[in-house]
Structures are given as C-alpha cells and as structure tokens.
Amino acid sequence: MTTAYEAIIGLEVHAQLLTTSKLFCGCSTAFGAPPNSNICPVCTGQPGALPVLNQRAVEFAIRAGLALHCRIAPVSLFARKNYFYPDLPKGYQISQYDQPLCLGGHLDISCDGEAKRITILRIHMEEDAGKSTHDIGQATTSHVDLNRACVPLIEIVSGPDLRSPQEAGQYLRALRAILMYLHICDGNMEEGSLRCDANISIRPKGSTVFGTRTELKNLNSFRFLERALAYEIERQIDVVSAGGTVVQETLLWDEKRGRTLSMRSKEEAHDYRYFPDPDLPPLVVDDAMIGAIRAALPELPEAKMARYTGEFGLSAYDARVLTSEKALATFFEHAVTAHRAPKKIANWITTELLGRLNARGESFESLRITPPQLAGLVALVDEGTISGKMAKQVFDTMYATGEAPQAIIAREGLSQVSDSAALETMIDELLATQSAQVAAYRQGKTNLFGFFVGQIMKKTAGRANPALVNALLRKKLEEE
C-alpha cells in the first residue's frame, strides 16, 4: 500500500445462530434439507400468518452481546425493512433498526503482536432471506428455496477501527472464535453461517476526516476478505492519486477475476422505509435474564489465555494460538487432563500438530489424533519408553492413522532399550572392538564420545535410551 494513505475499514458480520428452529416460526434450521421442505405459512409469508419470536435466539444474541462487552438494551424493537425480491417472502425483512438489542461493545485483537481494541457499534437480530438459484434448469427460470428464510441471524457491526486487510482478517478470526466459543454459531463460512460485508475508505495519513466509502459485499472467506480489501484499497488510492474521487457505491468481490464489480450506486440505493413491526411487541429483557445468561457464559479466549499463561506457565504466544479456536483449546485442555504436562503438550500442538495441518492445508475438524492419544505420547516420552526423536516418528503414524501411540510402538517394536544390563554388555563389546578409539578418547579426544553413542544407537536401531547410554558410556570410558 502506498504509505501516504491509510485505509479505514469497518465490518458488518452476519452470523447464523445455532437454534434448532427459525426466528419467527417452528420450522427446522437444518442445512442441506431438500429445497422448500422446512417451510410453513409464517416463513413463506402466507397471508394472515404472524411472527412469534424465538426466545432461544434472543438468548444467543445476548450471549454474543455480553461476550463482546455490549450494553444489552432493556427494550429493543423489531422493524420491517421493505424491499421486493423473490427470496424475501413477505416483501420485507424483519430486522432491528434504530433500537437494536446490543450496543457499544468491543473486541480486542492482536495484530503483529500488538493488542488493539476494536469497537462494536451494535449487534442486532434479524431473519435471513431464502436462497435464489439462477443456474439450474432453463436459462430463463430462477429457483427459490425458502428453507433458509426466517433463519435467525445476528449482525455485528464494528466501528471504523480497522486499518488494514490483515487487521480485518484478525478481527473476523477473533470474532468467529468467540461466536464458536459461545456455541451460538458454527462459524462455517462456506455454508454461509458466517458472512461478512466491509465498509472501506481511504484518507491521507494524519487526516481525521473520513473519505467516501464503498461497501464490499459477500466476502465469504478470510482469503476473499483480505484479497478484496487489498484490491479495493489499491483501487481507491489509484482513483484519488489520479485526481479522481471515490464514488459511494456497493461492490461485489469477484474472486475469479480478482476484482470488485459495481453492484449499485448511491442513487440506486434502496429506500428501505424501515418502521417498527406492528406484529411484534417491543422485546423486553430484564436484568434477571441478562444475569442468568451472563452466569452461564463459557470461559472466553481472553480468560483462557490468562489461565494458560498463569496456571500452566505457557508463553503468551502459545496461549494465544491455543485459544484462537475453541476446538483447539478444548483439545489442549483434554490432553492436559490426561497427562499434566501443559508446556510439553502445548509445544506438541503448536509445532507438530498445527505444523502438519497447515502444511497439508487440512482442517482441525479432520484431525484423527485424540487428546488422550497425544497426552499418551508425551507421557511415554516422559517415562522414557521412547525417545523424543522416536516420538516424532510415532506421531507421524498417529497423524495418518489415528492409532494409539502404544499400539504403534508395540507393533513396530519402537520401545526404547532401557535395560542397563543389556546396554552394558553392548557397550563392553563395542569398547573391546574399538580399542584405538578408546585410547584416543582417554588421551583427551573427548569429542569421540558422540561416535560411541552413535555406534550404540546404530546397533539398537535408535531404540537405546539415550540418557542411559550416555551415563553408561561415560562410566565405562572413565573408570579404566
């Protein structure tokens, strides 16, 4: 990025809530059901049907609000957002507008090792629209699936606090992690459970006024988000550098072509004619309800990090990595429960386990190793059954097959030779056949020690307990 400008980015994140039924009716929210099978008069907008608010969804939205340090409004309102589209059955979306459920929170992120606090302006509840498909059947026909219509969403709006695509990425990752920790969203961006739009503008560095912003729609992966923002920042800088002005418009990211495309200009923007939905009374939330939800909140990444560095003595880096995703933290904690060696286990996870996953581009969900298995492996090293080097070999097999380490060691005969009598005999034999080297060592060529160790390891196919070999060798070489 040209250094004369800085980017101002704010994200609007839509998260689908993990309720079993829809926001205003009893239909299932299950993903992947046959088109138009999870529908009823309410979510298809039949005349005379009325919405009834799903209290579980309210609870989930409040969880998000509390975790993001928001104020929960004692009274909030649902409003109708009016526009016509075939996948919007009522011709309006029930959303929250000027009186949302959660206001004024924040999320702390870490970017290049520096902590940064990002403002959360608001979190509001709304129903999803259906899904339009234009590329099946006849070219002149479109299809609408209303299974998704009326599925509960929360929209989390950040302040214009993000300054780079990387920061935006970090924010979205941290936000996704929290939603998953709270067990209110599955975080699946591919299936659209988590969707992201960005507002973006640039300004000369040092300026305090905002430039004209554009809105980027449908940034449905971390990669898309970061690429699209980088492209758009570059584009806006080019426009301004060439003496032009940025036009306020809504843009769609075209991943294939690697560029943004104009969707509609400011003049073409909808007038949504929001007004309070008369079918839904004001949403009233009392302190008792908020208190109960707060009390039931799970431990969140921040608190976990503090515990990992304090109680477990992990480095800040390891603690941050391990808490970055709920699944990872859970894995770590389960492993530590099985074998209390937190630092070693953390090390195995951050280096060996994540290293392999990243190298192979595999997801944590596809992992075949279980926490007790990893704990078992570390314990075997600690007990001296296998060497650290051997453990890495065992780990490779565990990673590939999901087998327990004990089974692998037994099958492949990998356990260490820790029988000191056997090793002593082996060492005696070695020293007897290598009298010249022994003499050289005793005359001060102590760097030959490694040679003797290597010979023993060779004989035992690497299974000799190195500490024991060292001790025995030293004793033998020095005693005569």
Partner: protein
C-alpha cells in the same frame, strides 16, 4: 331472548336440527343473495357437513356450546381451511389457505356451522363495500344504498338474516360502521383481545376481529368463544378472559357515561345527532350518569389513521407479488415487469391508492413529517381517552356521522369516503373496545347506530351498558322489510 339463545333452546328441545336450520339459511342465501351480494362464496356441502356433526355432537351430548349448530358467516379476510380467501381482490382470486384462522378454528371447535365467506371492500379498505373486486354489496334496508364497509357483506347478511351472526374485522370502523348502517350490533374488541392469526392483515396495529350480530347477547356469546391468548399471535394478550355475559341484565344505575362534545355538532347530520342524544337521554333514564368530557385530539384521528393504516398496509401487501401465490401477470419480461404487471392487474384503485400513500409516508425524508408525527398524535389520542376514563366508565357517541349513503355517491371522492370513519377510527388508534347498537332510524327509515367505547379489556361493562340500552328499546327488533324475517 337472543337469536342464538332462542335457536339453542329449539335445538336442545329437539324441535330443530342444525341441518334443518342450515338448509333454511342456505335456501335464504340462494333466494336473497343475488340481490344483496353479501356472500362471495357459499359453502353448501361444507356447511351441511358441519351441521351434521353438530347434530351428532348434540345427540351424544358431547361438548355442546352455545354456538353448536349455529350457522355463521365469515368475512372473506379470514381463513377457513377448505374454502377460498379472496379478500374481495383479484390478486387473491382462487387463493386457498392451508390453515384456519385461530378465530375460525375456535368457532369450529365450538361446533359452529360456517355458511360461507362474506363480501367486503378489497383488503378491508373502504367504507361502502363498493371497493370489492367482485361487485358491491347492497344495503338490505334500501338496495340503492351502500351497506357500509369494509365488513359490509357481513352486516348485510346479518341484517337480512342470511346467517345468525358473522365475524367481521375492524381497522378504523369496519365492524361498527356497517353495523350502524345495516341496523345490527357490531363489536370491535380491545386490541389484543382476539387473535389475528389467519386474518389477512390490512393494518396490523389496528386490525381486530369481532362479532356482528342481531343482538348484544349474541355478540357476547361469540366473543366468549373467539377471545383469548394465542401462541401464534404475539399481539394477542395473555390475560384471563372474563365471562362477557356476566353483567348482561345488570342495572346501569350509577354507571358514568362520558359524552365527548367533539363527536357532536359539526360534520354530524342533525337527525343522527338528535337520535343519539335521545338514546343518551334514555341511558340517563335507566340511571346512568352522563358527564361532558373532552377528547381534544379527536379532529386529528382521521388524518392520523390515514397515515398509519396505509403505512402498515404498504408493507403488509408487499407479499402479493405474483411469485408464490395469487395473481401472476401473463406478461413476461424481467422481474420488475412481473411485479408491476401482477400488482397493477391484481389490486383495485383504492388499494393501490393506499399502498402509494403508505409508501410515501414511510419514505426517507417524509417519515418524520408523516409517519412519526402520526404516531405521536396517536399517543395523544390514546392519552385523551385514558384521561377521560378516569372520570367515566364508558363513552357514548354516534357510530357514524350520517346514515348509509347512496351507491356511487362518494366513489369519486376518497376524502369524503374517508370521513365516514370520523367517529370510529379513534377507537382503533387507542386500541379500545367499541360497540355499535341500533338506536333509531332517520326519516327515510335508514338505521342509526349508537357507539359505546370502553376501557381497554373492559368489554364486560361495554356489553352491560349496550345490553341495558338494547333490552329497554325495540330497535333490535326492527328488520329490513322484504326478507321474510320474523315470519
């Protein structure tokens, strides 16, 4: 004894069966409906099946309610699963709902017989019933006149005895105004007293379903059956339902009746005012105390109503887009063309006008001046009433400023048409219960209605006073001539 009580007595005695009663009504509908056009759809087989079941229920002495076997009609804005719902609109021609409205389900649970669906102004928008896409309803008292609206079909059907009673809906007077014009009783319950689930929405914050009957007691009996919380309607209040007949027959001595000056004088026809004042004097003679009160924001009620109701309607009617149900234009083009053609062909002129008004008042830049201001006025109107009800128990006014006018007289003047709501719309804006009872006729023999308004959720007092008035006068025994009633 009320019409329903009388029929119940005969049914219980075995001198009448529901099937015979239903057949008699179906025959009356065949004879008189072509001239009145009160019904859009008569459901002969459906009704007879229900009548058979009601008779069986009575034979087995199982769950017999005051409505078991009683033939009713339903305004064509509520769903009866198995019958069409058109809302008197071309856009819902051939539309068949997949479920019962909660009110309808409750009537069917009680064993009531449904004869058919009654005509109305399209989507309940109108005061004359001339805005039905399927032809206007005529007033049984004078076929040259309108029956009122929007529940004009229900009013005409009850008045001409083409059903024992009917369910109507009232958004700005749509039950009470036609009830007054047709000389029957019309009750709009408190907002939230009756579920709106399955009532095709016009203006959601104002709509309320209520009974249209030949007597006050019948209104209480029907309200008893349809009232109460419904988990499918978040605006249906979850509070206990009282016995609405509890104080029928109680004296009204000591009841304080408020007379708001704003509802008399300018804009009210002299014969109507004189008749209503006579009725008030009659209530005094029964021991009620009258108190002059002021409802200073009354004059803003009609403009306020004609902002809020169209605003809500503009969103409520957005779902009729030709995509999932209802009329779809044959014209093919892009999506926008499909929407425009389907909606232009499907909606009549009054509905179109209100959608445009509603869209306008919600538009960016106009919202504060219109919609928001109207909501503020609405609050003031409600406050007027709340204050008045600290001094009085019910409020008494004319139901309409005049008697039923002649067909065609106001069709080209929407503003004149809107003024027909001048006495009734405040009640909806404040969410109060209101009832219209017949209280006389003018020189042409056209009925005049007395409107009583009550405290929120106090239908019991309202019914008590209305019943006392009705039972000590004879207006409820007047029927339009030429329909063989009372024979």
């Amino acid at each position: 004894m009320s019409r329903i009580r009388t029929l119940q007595k005969q049914l219980a005695a075995g001198t009448l069966t529901s099937v015979a009663l239903t057949e008699r009504y179906l025959a009356r509908i065949r004879e008189y409906n072509p001239g009145l056009h009160a019904y859009l759809h008569t459901a002969e087989a459906f009704a007879l099946e229900l009548a058979h079941r009601a008779d069986e229920r009575r034979r087995n002495d199982r769950d017999v309610t005051p409505l078991t076997g009683i033939p009713l009609s339903i305004k064509d804005v509520m769903h009866v699963h198995g019958l069409p719902t058109t809302c008197a609109s071309k856009i819902l021609e051939h539309f068949h709902p997949t479920y019962h409205a909660t009110t309808v389900a409750r009537l069917l649970d009680a064993g009531a017989v449904i004869l058919g669906k009654t005509n109305m102004d399209e989507f309940a928008m109108g005061a004359s019933n001339e805005h039905s896409a399927y032809g206007a309803v005529r007033n049984p008292w004078d076929p040259a006149r309108i029956p009122g609206g929007s529940s004009g079909g229900s009013a005409a059907a009850v008045s001409a005895d083409l059903c024992v009673a009917s369910l109507g809906s009232d958004t700005g007077g749509s039950i009470r105004q036609p009830a007054a014009f047709c000389g029957i009783v019309g009750l709009k319950p408190t907002y939230g007293r009756v579920s709106r689930y399955g009532l095709v929405a016009f203006a959601s914050s104002l709509d309320q379903i209520g009974p249209m009957t030949q007597s006050v007691e019948d209104a209480a009996l029907i309200l008893q059956q349809i009232a109460g919380h419904d988990p499918a309607d978040s605006t249906a209040r979850n509070i206990p339902v009282p016995d609405f007949s509890a104080r029928l027959g109680d004296e009204i001595a000591g009841v304080r009746i408020g007379i708001p000056e704003e509802y008399f004088g300018e804009g009210i026809d002299a014969p109507v005012e004189a008749t209503v004042r006579t009725a008030i004097a009659h209530l005094e003679s029964l021991g009620a105390t009258t108190v002059k009160i002021h409802l200073p924001h009354t004059r803003y009620a009609v403009p306020c109503y004609y902002i809020i109701a169209p605003a809500e309607a503009s969103a409520n009617l957005a779902r009729y887009d030709g995509v999932r149900f209802g009329h779809r234009a044959a014209a093919r083009g892009n999506l926008h063309d499909l929407y425009c053609a389907s909606r232009s062909e499907g909606f009549g002129p009054e509905v179109t006008r209100r959608i445009m008004i509603g869209t306008y008042v919600l538009s960016s830049g106009y919202y504060d001046a219109y919609y928001k201001k109207a909501q503020q006025v609405r609050t003031l109107i409600a406050r007027d009433f709340a204050e008045a009800f600290t001094q009085v128990d019910v409020i008494c006014t004319p139901t309409t400023p005049h008697v039923a006018f002649r067909a065609g007289e106001r069709l080209d003047d929407p503003l004149q048409m809107y003024l027909a709501d001048i006495c009734t719309s405040s009640c909806n804006l404040a969410g109060l219960p209101g009832i219209s009872v017949p209280c006389g006729v003018n020189a042409d023999g056209m009925p005049i209605g007395l409107q009583l308004l009550g405290r929120p959720m106090d239908e019991v007092t309202l019914l008590q006073v209305a019943y006392a008035y009705e039972q000590s006068t004879s207006w409820h025994r007047h029927h339009p001539p030429h329909y063989g009633i009372g024979a």
